[in-house]
């Protein structure tokens, strides 16, 4: 009975709110998806934040810091949305530390040069935007509202990155080479952000039925590629895919085979930065314990005094 009513609401494009009845599987799916989205934002602060102290101008420094700070904010909106499903942020962080929860594997790649700040902003945030715009229509209310808020803030992120790439591409030969190198290293990992191909994605069925997901991985990936090819051409950079070609019949770009071995390898823990990202997160968490304890202790003392 509940299942039927629930599905009717979904089909009628009504939002599901925290107090509403929902199938356990729906709740579990959302907890997994939202928390992993949140973890991604937070972990993403590391590769992006890597160049804050070395940003090459005052303006670049402030913009990058504001951007990375936004990511923290996005993580917080998402943890907040996830908590409405009956789980605490502390539990979610524990899952991350235990390796039970994942985060977007793009962040397991290192940011090796300043141009990577351009590539990451343009491609990684660009891919995120495609995904997040679609998710604005997700069925779960708090998640949907979180996505709307995030999307408003995200477009500056992509512009920030694209601007860096555009400037470098028309700068000195060394700058142009640096920008091209960053594109070479981030292109494939960025398009793999959309996840496995639909044929290899077992959870897609339910996610689409419950309108958690509104478009499939392959659709989103194609959308991103279509949007981005022209952007690269405009600034004179070459996407490292010899098979990239406009297909008049399909009305889309054809593109080359992704290296799924690398994808699964990195997802399963064997990427260049997997260990480092978690270790950094754990370290910050552990080193902050005494501070959190102090704040709690102080608050308790105030309560006692007030009473």
């Amino acid at each position: 009975m509940n299942e039927i009513k629930f599905q009717e609401r979904i089909d009628a494009e009504k939002k599901i709110e925290p107090k509403d009845w929902m199938p356990d599987a729906y709740r579990k799916h959302l907890i997994r998806q939202i928390s992993q989205h949140a973890h991604s934002e937070i972990i993403g602060m590391q590769p992006e934040g890597n160049w804050i102290t070395r940003a090459p101008s005052l303006r670049a420094k402030m913009i990058l810091l504001a951007k990375v700070q936004d990511e923290a904010g996005h993580g917080l909106y998402l943890y907040s949305a996830c908590e409405t499903l009956g789980i605490s942020r502390e539990e979610l962080v524990q899952q991350l530390h235990d390796g039970k929860a994942k985060y977007s594997s793009i962040f397991n790649y290192p940011t090796l040069s300043w141009a990577d700040m351009g590539a990451v902003g343009w491609l990684v945030d660009g891919a995120a935007i495609v995904n997040q715009v679609s998710l604005q229509r997700t069925s779960y209310g708090p998640y949907s509202r979180g996505m709307v808020k995030i999307c408003k803030e995200e477009s500056f992120h992509q512009r920030q990155g694209y601007e860096i790439m555009a400037e470098m591409a028309k700068g000195t030969p060394e700058q142009k080479a640096m920008a091209q190198d960053a594109l070479d290293r981030f292109w494939w990992p960025s398009i793999m952000m959309f996840g496995p191909q639909d044929s290899d994605s077992p959870r897609t069925g339910n996610a689409m039925k419950w309108k958690i997901k509104r478009q499939t991985n392959d659709d989103l990936r194609q959308d991103f590629i279509n949007k981005t090819v022209g952007q690269a051409e405009l600034i004179g950079l070459t996407i490292p895919d010899p098979d990239l070609k406009w297909n008049e019949q399909r009305g889309h770009y054809d593109f080359g085979e992704m290296d799924w071995d690398e994808f699964w390898s990195v997802v399963n823990g064997n990427g260049p930065c997997n260990k480092q990202r978690l270790a950094h997160h754990k370290k910050a968490h552990d080193e902050g314990q005494w501070v959190r304890d102090a704040a709690k202790a102080y608050a308790k003392k105030q309560e006692l005094v007030a009473n």
Partner: protein, 94 residues
């Protein structure tokens, strides 16, 4: 084992004269910290002229039209935070 932090719901008044709108939540230990955290998180883009914070446990919600929400007694809390539950001293994995 660290306790869960206190969760506060945040309401922002974007412009003088308008009603406060729910923006989300923050974690904080005391009300001063809650206000400051809310300011940091929700008003970086001039979105606020006034902030309210309320501990989540004090929010009371009405029923939705689906009253067959069979786990929920009436006058239920709006959010299902595990922090509202006191666990016995020494309990683990819960």
């Amino acid at each position: 084992m660290a306790e869960n932090a206190t969760v506060w719901e945040v309401f922002i008044q974007s412009k003088n004269g308008l009603a406060h709108k729910h923006a989300g939540n923050v974690h904080a230990d005391d009300k001063v910290m809650a206000l400051e955290n809310a300011r940091e998180l929700y008003t970086r883009r001039n979105e606020g002229s006034c902030i309210w914070v309320v501990k989540s446990e004090y929010i009371v919600s009405s029923e939705t039209e689906d009253s067959e929400a069979f786990f929920d007694p009436s006058n239920d809390k709006m959010y299902r935070h595990p922090t509202f539950y006191t666990m016995p001293e020494g309990s683990k994995h819960i």
